[in-house]
Structures are given as C-alpha cells and as structure tokens.
Symmetry: C2
Subunit: 108 residues, 2 copies
C-alpha cells in the first residue's frame, strides 16, 4: 500500500507535493480522517483507487465514528501511514500490540 | 468506569498496589491486552465485573486480533485508561479524532 501511495504522490504536481509536505509538518494535533487525507494531499478518488473501492465508500467511511480496527488500518495504510493503538493512563502510555498483524480487513 | 477502577485498586492489598505502581512506571513499550491488564494489577474476573460480562468473555477478547474500536475503548476504559488512535507517517504523527466520542460499544 505504501508503495502505491508513493506512486500517487510522485504523480502529483510539484506545488501540490510542496503544499502537502508543508501541511504534514504541522500535523501535531488531532484531526478527523477526512482532514488527514487532505493534509496528505489525497482526494477521496485517489484513496478509493488504492483501496479498490468506490469513492462513496471513502466518503461514508470518513463519517463513521466506529469501525473494525482492520478497516481503519487499511485506510491509514492506504494513506501511507501506520495505525497505532495506544492506551493512555495517568501514569504512563502503552502501545497495544494485539493488532500489530491483522489479517484481511473485515467488511466495512 | 475509571471510578470503579479506583475502587478496585483501593481494595487491593498494599503490596499488590505497590507492585502494580512499579510495573506501571516501566510501561513504555508495546504489550498485548492481557499483559496490560496484569500490569494494571487486574484479574480477568475484576475486569469482567467492571464490564458486566462473564470472565470467559475477557479471556476471549484478549486473544482477538481484530475488534470494533468501541469494544476496545470500553475494555481500555475499564482498566482506567483512554484509547488513542494514532496514524504514524514518516514525517509526522496524527491523532485520529473520529472516535473520540463513541456511542455504545458494539456487541463483541
């Protein structure tokens, strides 16, 4: 997936690539999936192509407030990222490793 | 949930509380859900009580490699923590905010 993402990026016009890189630098905060996609310089159509789904599926997915971890993982990987599941406690932070190697994504 | 967790902790023998606190300090790394539960000084039975489920459900849940985010969130909150969903990119890290306010957990 990451490979395909790089290909998509390479095909973007230079200005768009630069814009996307600048946005990526300021990504420290929290944002919903649709903003993250835009910050990565990707359209719903591009993401749909990578995931072999139709564009409306991406639109629907970005509005969901609950989903399988495997579905979310595929979505994030299609954007060139990696999913991390973290449990935050008052006295520490733990990365949950159960989901490091998920199988095929569940049907959304 | 966090409140109930505090009550459970308060009822633990002092040595167990100290042991649990010491373990919590070294929780920097990655671990599966069952190890996290043990590090928090909780038994499957205690967690089952907080979540109003039977103990075998906790055992089964801890073996799963995929689940709804809402299910995982309830599980982590029952341990006194907060779920964070993070997308890691080569150039930055983003917290996904779609799942900040989930409704009722999906049936596991």
């Amino acid at each position: 997936m990451a490979h395909k993402f790089s290909e998509l990026r390479a095909r973007m016009p230079p200005q768009a690539q630069a814009r996307s890189a600048a946005k990526a630098q300021i990504m420290l905060a929290e944002m919903p999936l649709n903003e993250l996609r835009q910050a990565r310089g990707l359209s719903q159509k591009m993401l749909a192509d990578v995931l072999h789904v139709q564009q409306p599926s991406i639109a629907k997915m970005e509005k969901r407030t609950d989903m399988y971890l495997s579905t979310l993982r595929s979505h994030i990987e299609a954007m060139g990222g990696q999913l991390e599941v973290v449990a935050r406690f008052p006295d520490g932070v733990v990365k949950i490793s159960n989901f490091a190697e998920l199988g095929q994504p569940a049907v959304a």
